[in-house]
């Protein structure tokens, strides 16, 4: 630590070079911060840690519907605390591009999600209003909806009385406390009973069940028992934990992890070369100075560490600035997009991974120049040979 000012002075010996290198490092880690946060956001949209729910869908495919009468059968399975159901509606608000999930939910569904915070009076209003709908706060903000508003949706699957126009009355706005899951606030839910009565096509059919467990450790056994209920019937089911269900679904969009890894390998490879070059230059220029340091008694090891720390410091400063910018930028992007893009700030795992990378890259690029500095022969170096 006592040599910090020495390292600092060495770092800013050539201001232009350090500044330019620093800015490259900033750009690299800005990109890393943003991409890795996207990856984390994508993965954690599947992450419902701490809530042990099962999801039951049709075994045939996710778009196939199931009879809602299964609910009471599922509830008799030992280990099941509660079961609720929902039907995908797939309505459009004003324009096709304004996509957000909307579905009809049966009794007890919203209570299964304690992480969705809905004031009790609004929950009561939802239960007692036939055409009532609840939305997440982000969605309400995006379209400027207030309690009591009428929300028109264009049906894409289920017409009502020969027309595609459905209207719902907004009676509740829920919040999701967990920052990482705030994307779920872009959801509209309405009463299944209203849907069932008013749609022209299907009666008594649902797309998925949510099941609350008595004991989370029993998940596998209960899931099997539920699927056994409908075995060899014309509506076989597939039950998974909510976590596994979400993961399988999101993975079908794209392998985000792979894309992020590929891009970041290209970026960091370039960065290695760039900072490595800078450090090599910095040491080459300073050979006489390093020789003087050695002459006045700095040990080989100290010289090695001095150069190594210089490299690490350079990258940690740049990387921290880059991640910092990413942390500021992403909420700004999220709010500018009106909630369409839900990127929280840079998450702790990203910071930690970033810090690890910074130190690792610093050590890698610093090693060769540091070894060179360590092995300097004082006489030759001073003589400029």
């Amino acid at each position: 630590m006592k040599y910090l000012h020495l390292i600092w002075a060495a770092l800013f010996r050539s201001k232009t070079r350090t500044l330019l290198t620093l800015l490259s490092v900033v750009a690299a880690f800005l990109l890393f911060g943003m991409l890795d946060s996207v990856r984390v956001a994508f993965n954690s949209s599947a992450n419902v840690d701490g809530y042990d729910r099962l999801i039951t869908t049709s075994k045939l495919s996710i778009t196939q519907s199931l009879p809602y009468s299964l609910t009471s059968q599922i509830e008799t399975v030992p280990g099941v605390a509660k079961a609720a159901y929902a039907t995908w509606f797939g309505g459009i608000y004003q324009d096709q591009r304004n996509f957000f999930p909307n579905f009809a939910i049966g009794p007890g569904y919203i209570e299964m999600y304690p992480e969705y915070v809905l004031p009790p009076d609004q929950l009561e209003a939802f239960k007692s209003t036939r055409t009532g709908a609840i939305v997440g706060e982000a969605l309400a903000k995006q379209y400027g909806w207030k309690l009591g508003d009428t929300i028109p949706l264009q049906a894409t699957i289920f017409p009502t009385k020969g027309s595609n126009d459905w209207t719902f009355k907004l009676v509740g706005i829920f919040k999701v406390a967990d920052k990482k899951r705030q994307g779920e606030e872009r959801t509209l839910m309405f009463n299944w009973k209203y849907f069932d009565e008013a749609n022209d096509y299907i009666k008594g059919e649902v797309h998925w069940f949510v099941i609350d467990l008595v004991d989370a450790n029993q998940a596998t056994r209960v899931a099997r028992a539920i699927d056994a209920l409908s075995e060899n019937s014309d509506h076989e089911t597939k039950t998974d934990t909510e976590q596994a269900f979400n993961q399988a679904f999101f993975k079908q969009f794209a392998d985000i992890g792979l894309i992020v890894t590929a891009i970041m390998s290209a970026v960091f490879f370039t960065l290695l070369l760039l900072t490595g070059n800078t450090m090599a230059q910095a040491v080459r220029e300073r050979i006489p100075e390093l020789a003087v340091l050695k002459t006045i008694g700095f040990s080989n090891r100290s010289v090695l560490l001095l150069v190594l720390f210089e490299a690490v410091l350079l990258i940690v400063i740049g990387g921290a600035i880059g991640l910092g910018i990413a942390a500021v930028l992403m909420p700004a992007v999220s709010s500018a997009s009106g909630g369409v893009v839900q990127l929280g700030t840079v998450a702790t795992p990203t910071w930690l991974l970033g810090l690890g990378l910074m130190v690792a890259i610093g050590i890698v690029v610093g090693t060769l120049p540091a070894l060179r500095a360590m092995r300097l022969n004082i006489v030759d170096a001073l003589a400029g040979r």
């Binding site: 996710i62 778009t63 894409t156």
Partner: protein, 438 residues
Amino acid sequence: MNRIRKWLSHLGVVLALAAGLAAWAVMPWYAVLAVALLLGLWLTLTRQGRLAVAAAQIGIATLPQRWGASAVIVVGIAGVVAVLVAMLAMGEGFRSTLTRTGNDETAIVLRGGSQSETNSVITRDQVPLVSNLAGIARGQDGRPLASPELSQVVNMVTKADGTDANAQMRGVGPTAWELRPQIKVFEGRRFQSGMRELVVGEGAKRQYVGLDVGNKVELANQVWTVVGTFSSGDSHDSELWADSETVANTYRRTAFQSVTVRLDGKDGFDRLKAALAADPRLKLDVDTTRHYYSRQSETLTRFIEILGMVIGTIMGIGAVFGALNTMYAAVAGRAREVATMRAMGFRGLPVVVAVMLETMLLALVGGLLGGAVAWLIFNGYTVSTLSSNFSQVMFQFKVSPELLWNGLKWALGIGLVGGLFPALRAARLPVTEALRAA
């Protein structure tokens, strides 16, 4: 006063650079060619130009001595170009796969407002009404070329990691093959109507377990036999085809989802649209398949493009700083040479041009390298994503010449920015000080 003037001149350079970059970004290839030609003429025909070439030769000849630093420019720019081209090739591949699926000779009829097949319902009694509308071409036997179709999402196990994925099963009418001549069964045969037989696209066969010809697969508790493999070169390649009546029976579907028809002549679409609108029993939408499928690719393609641009820009900024760093070092290392040249009577312009030429050369190499890497690794690379029909669409990255050209333009743009400031510094070096230094 002097400082203000210096500051203003810097500002002027930055503004000119921004304007130049903007012009460069929108410049079509023939304008680029014209600029390159003019530059070539200037370099060979004028005295200043020849001086610039001579100065540049010195710089280029010493490049091997500074290969580490030069590699920073080349690799930095190659990285930007490779990532940018690969991202755009992904968007381009998705777009062209879906766009190719449609054409202007066929049209798709869906329920009004349904946007995609999954959401659409066409009842059985509507099918003959639709088929007999004006504007639909007829086959040799005089029957209308219309195929009522069902799209069913089925769970299939992927070969890659054994997880379930949503595959698209399409139940088609007997005229479907005639409607889509691009589909060629290259292995086995077509399915027979009434039988539980599947013909699978080659993409689906590659992605899912157990779709080889002769295999039996279980779908909806029924055993189906795979009797053939087809290739179409478009999004149908990801599908499993079967007889629509059999699919309807198996999945207890009482209605169809879409009717695909061949249009009769150029005005067929307009006539069909008018006829459809005139029939009050049919609340249906009709769209050419070209328009229908390209609309499905729009959102994702645009998203990928924007993402590619943002990533490319950030990486590009990083690469600019790397190039600046290298070129400043190069100029500083050659301060004496440059000053000598200036003392001998070289003017500012040839010095600027020489440094720029050197940077642009490195940028060009980087751009070519990045494009080559993107092309070698990613051209034809197959990935899949979830389409608007809730099912997997496989598509290939498509590294087109246009994208490579775009990548080169980015590379040269980065070289321009990275070379200009060091070049200006070289030209402004105070001769006496530089000669005395070192």
